[in-house]
């Protein structure tokens, strides 16, 4: 089981502090076109080629909402077991920045589309619930590039206007491990729903981390700082560690913590104040006069509910009930929708005489190792679910040993080759004929008579030597179970 620490405490002198963490996750909505314009959202396009007059905020351009993005937000809300608000309102959040051509971001302030919900985390020490405060729809800004021109900042507006869901948690997390589990769980739920691809490298998922500290046991919240735009789980954990210690040090030195926006410098591994954001919280929100309130009917919501696929928590429960896998194995198998799909396909292809233990071990062991090495997603697996199932069945019915299976597995990688064909071509079928094995063992004992006597006189660890000799003599093809049985009998 992965190790996680159920407690994360900072000790100074006689004081023990705990850390209170809340997250604002920005998840890019999976859609073809932007939230209020018909420009493409495709990642990686040539700069400024997916910018319409609306996205560049030309005078007189009016936003028209993308109905699909509304559906995506509601589906996500359902996945978060949250209240869906039938009426929500778009507001203007006003600030100046070079990558925000409108001079304001269209967001939802007072009336978000989704209200309170819950996310359940599977921690090593048990389950933990994290409350969701709200989810609202908003526009993404463009991208500023600071490292291509020493004098200037270059702006690419391709991302400008792409739909984001801002998911705000309650300050319910207490450890960096919980933050990691929370982000992974959100990502997993959204990937199951198809509402966000969760690709952190491409910036589809990033977070602002709110951190405060307090004496353990206190129920008062301390002054919080917000670490902006952290784009990997590892960096979130590092930023929390640094920031929590910084705040504790300030308290211990009787200094005050300023409520402020900070950024995490990934090179120096520290957070520092963003002075430019001094006035940042003065956003002067007001309802966007270009957009009427967004109203949806019960019928509209019910239709979306009917389309919700089996989500990770339910799938996990079913895997435990139906396939008799452990809770820990189930958690791993369902964490990513594509892994769950692959597993279920292997199970289906194994047929009646299926061996779940083998299936789980081969997927989470050998297959994961190969994917890791080759930096591949499971959808790009070099070995199909069908052929992995065949390999597992060959072990299960005694045709090959587990050890030989590993050799065959390596051979299967290059071209997804049917393991049955490899067994036949290379003559790797396991030797399970007792007579043949007895003859082989007789010869070994005969050749090593002294060792056999030593063994009989109590030097039991020599047993391994005989097994090794037998495997070697059979080029690894001898059925290990039979070898054990026969050796025990002959060496008595």
């Amino acid at each position: 089981m992965t190790k996680d620490n159920s407690e994360y405490l900072i000790e100074r002198r006689d004081n023990v502090y705990e850390v209170v963490i809340g997250l604002e996750v920005h998840a890019q909505v999976t859609s073809n076109s932007k939230l209020f314009s018909s420009s493409s959202t495709t990642f990686g396009a040539e700069p400024n080629t997916q910018v319409s007059l609306v996205d560049a905020a030309f005078p007189g351009m009016l936003p028209v909402i993308n109905e699909y993005c509304v559906k995506q937000a509601i589906k996500t809300g359902i996945g978060l077991r949250a209240q869906i608000n039938k009426r929500s309102v778009f507001d203007r959040k006003n600030y100046f920045y070079a990558d925000l051509p409108q001079g304001y971001q269209i967001s939802q302030f007072k009336y978000p589309i989704v209200g309170e919900g819950t996310v359940v985390l599977d921690m090593a020490h048990g389950q933990k619930e994290v409350g969701i405060e709200r989810l609202h729809l908003e526009q993404d800004a463009g991208k500023s590039i600071h490292d291509m021109d020493p004098q200037n900042t270059l702006v690419d507006l391709n991302r400008s206007g792409v739909a984001l869901m801002e998911i705000v948690s309650k300050p319910d997390m207490r450890t960096p491990d919980e933050v990691s589990a929370y982000v992974k769980k959100l990502r997993s739920i959204m990937r199951y729903l198809g509402t966000c691809d969760g690709n952190m490298q491409e910036g589809s998922l990033r977070a602002d981390v709110n951190i405060s500290v307090r004496i353990k046991g206190s129920d008062k919240l301390g002054t919080r700082c917000e670490i902006k735009n952290v784009n990997s789980i590892k960096f979130m954990q590092m930023a929390i560690d640094y920031e929590a210690n910084r705040q504790v040090d300030l308290i211990e030195e009787d200094k005050t913590i300023d409520q402020e926006t900070r950024l995490f410098d990934t090179k120096k591994n520290e957070t520092r104040s963003m002075r430019s954001k001094e006035d940042a919280h003065d956003y002067r929100y007001f309802p966007d006069p270009d957009l009427l309130p967004l109203e949806v009917t019960d019928e509209f919501i019910e239709k979306l509910k009917a389309d919700i696929p089996e989500l990770p928590d339910d799938k996990k429960k079913r895997f435990i009930d139906e396939f008799k896998v452990s809770a820990y194995e189930a958690t791993i198998l369902v964490s990513d929708i594509d892994t769950a799909k692959y597993f279920e396909e292997v199970v289906a292809k194994m047929g009646k005489n299926r061996d779940m233990k083998l299936a789980v071990n081969w997927i989470t062991g050998e297959l994961f190792a190969v994917l890791n090495n080759k930096n591949l997603e499971i959808t790009q697996s070099p070995i199909s679910a069908k052929n992995l199932a065949k390999l597992i069945n060959l072990i299960k019915n005694g045709t090959i040993s587990g050890k030989i299976a590993k050799t065959i597995f390596e051979l299967m990688i290059d071209g997804d080759i049917d393991p049955q064909i490899i067994v036949e071509k290379k003559g790797l079928k396991q030797e399970s004929d007792p007579k043949a094995l007895e003859a082989l063992i007789d010869k070994i004992i005969n050749d090593n008579r002294e060792k056999a006597i030593e063994y009989k006189n109590g030097k039991e660890k020599l047993f391994g030597f005989f097994v090794g000799q037998a495997m070697k003599a059979s080029s690894g093809k001898a059925n290990p179970q039979l070898i054990n049985e026969i050796l025990k009998k002959k060496l008595q």
Binding site: P47, N48, I65, V70, N152
Partner: protein, 95 residues
């Protein structure tokens, strides 16, 4: 509500419109007379009234999730303060 010089300076900063002291004093006067006039609205009790976002008696129009815009980079970039064929170029803004 009275608008003082400090508020004028703050709004000036937020809106990125520079206002010198002489102008700020005049603005404070103008704004205060406007606000005094608007104050009259406070005489009305609006405790249980939702803010009105639009006077149009219609619902929000939506569109299907289709890509219809084309690449108009050349036209869009004509508005960049500085020339570059791929990007908008602005004075360096970095933390």
């Amino acid at each position: 509500m009275t608008i003082d010089l400090k508020t004028i300076k703050h709004i000036s900063k937020l809106s990125r419109i520079s206002v010198d002291d002489a102008k700020a004093n005049k603005l404070a006067g103008d704004l205060n007379s406007i606000f005094d006039f608007i104050e009259k609205l406070n005489e009305l009790n609006t405790d249980n009234v939702e803010p009105l976002t639009s006077v149009a008696e219609t619902t929000l129009k939506s569109r299907a999730d289709e890509v219809k815009s084309e690449n108009i980079r050349d036209q869009i970039l004509k508005n960049s303060p500085d020339e570059n064929e791929d990007f908008f170029v602005v004075p360096r803004v970095v933390e």
